[in-house]
Symmetry: C2
Subunit: 197 residues, 2 copies
Amino acid sequence: MHKERKKDTGIALDIALIHYPVINKTGETIGSAVTNLDLHDIARAARTFGVDHYFIVTPYADQHMLVQEILDHWQTGYGATYNPARKAALDRVRIADSVETVISLVTEQRGQKPLILTTSARVQKNSISYRETRRRIATEEPILLLFGTAHGLAPEVNETADYTLPPIESTTGYNHLSVRSAVSIILDRLLGVHEEL
Amino acid sequence: MHKERKKDTGIALDIALIHYPVINKTGETIGSAVTNLDLHDIARAARTFGVDHYFIVTPYADQHMLVQEILDHWQTGYGATYNPARKAALDRVRIADSVETVISLVTEQRGQKPLILTTSARVQKNSISYRETRRRIATEEPILLLFGTAHGLAPEVNETADYTLPPIESTTGYNHLSVRSAVSIILDRLLGVHEEL
């Protein structure tokens, strides 16, 4: 099944939404709560842009159950017949208890460790450009893209990643996008079909 | 106040999220309900990319009250001190009862009728490219960008607009993005600071 999808899209990109370890307003490491709309919006964007799997990462058992209940409704419950397009999006969702687990699962599936990229609202030391990332995606290099909830990924996640994508910038200096917006924009920059700008 | 903001960003772009007239799954014209997260996510994206005003368009009085309650919480209530960045985003939000009202308000503010652009998940006849739109934004031509909730803008809105932006495309053929994702991506395409792709 994976092979067919890969043939469809010609890419080997997975994404993960991290609920632990992330930081709060004051920079402390916390675990955040899963939200229904993060599941839906990001699954729809992932499906639109040909992302293979969308991992929801949290160590909390009750949160795993919550995610599974939502998935069940849309995959086998009333939602599946009411809205098949939503089912097609949520089919990409997987639940994992840690970043390490996601890396193991993707490594096993791809047969090699993926390039691990983080995203941040602040410039990090190990920056990689969107253009270079697009180039690598085109070669079908396995890539795992990590997004943080709350006030962003804990520093150790950025430090252990291979590279970090630059913040989404405009000319206003304001950078408080929702994670749903940030994921959508970054997937469009990496995978969208663009005119020459 | 507007003049200062315009000087900051050098653009004259407003957006509106339309809750009536939009279409449902079967193509009938309906009015949709305002959602809290459409307010927040899109206000944050608007503030990030230097959009001047973000109009919430609905004819229903109870929906106007709901929007006003949310705005009050974040602008003058507890939310204003708890999260000043959110206040700065929601300060851009305005409530209007119809598309016509928004056009009148923007025309009055800008001293001329804005160029009216719609967005759609389907290709429309009167298409304008993202590149051409960026060029017009750079000349500070007043532009009003309309987004539909539910299954998209009613046909008459697209037909009376000057142009429609092309759908956001990838190679998958799936185009069921949330309106929050679509707005974020389109603002990034029109106003984001990009590397050469």
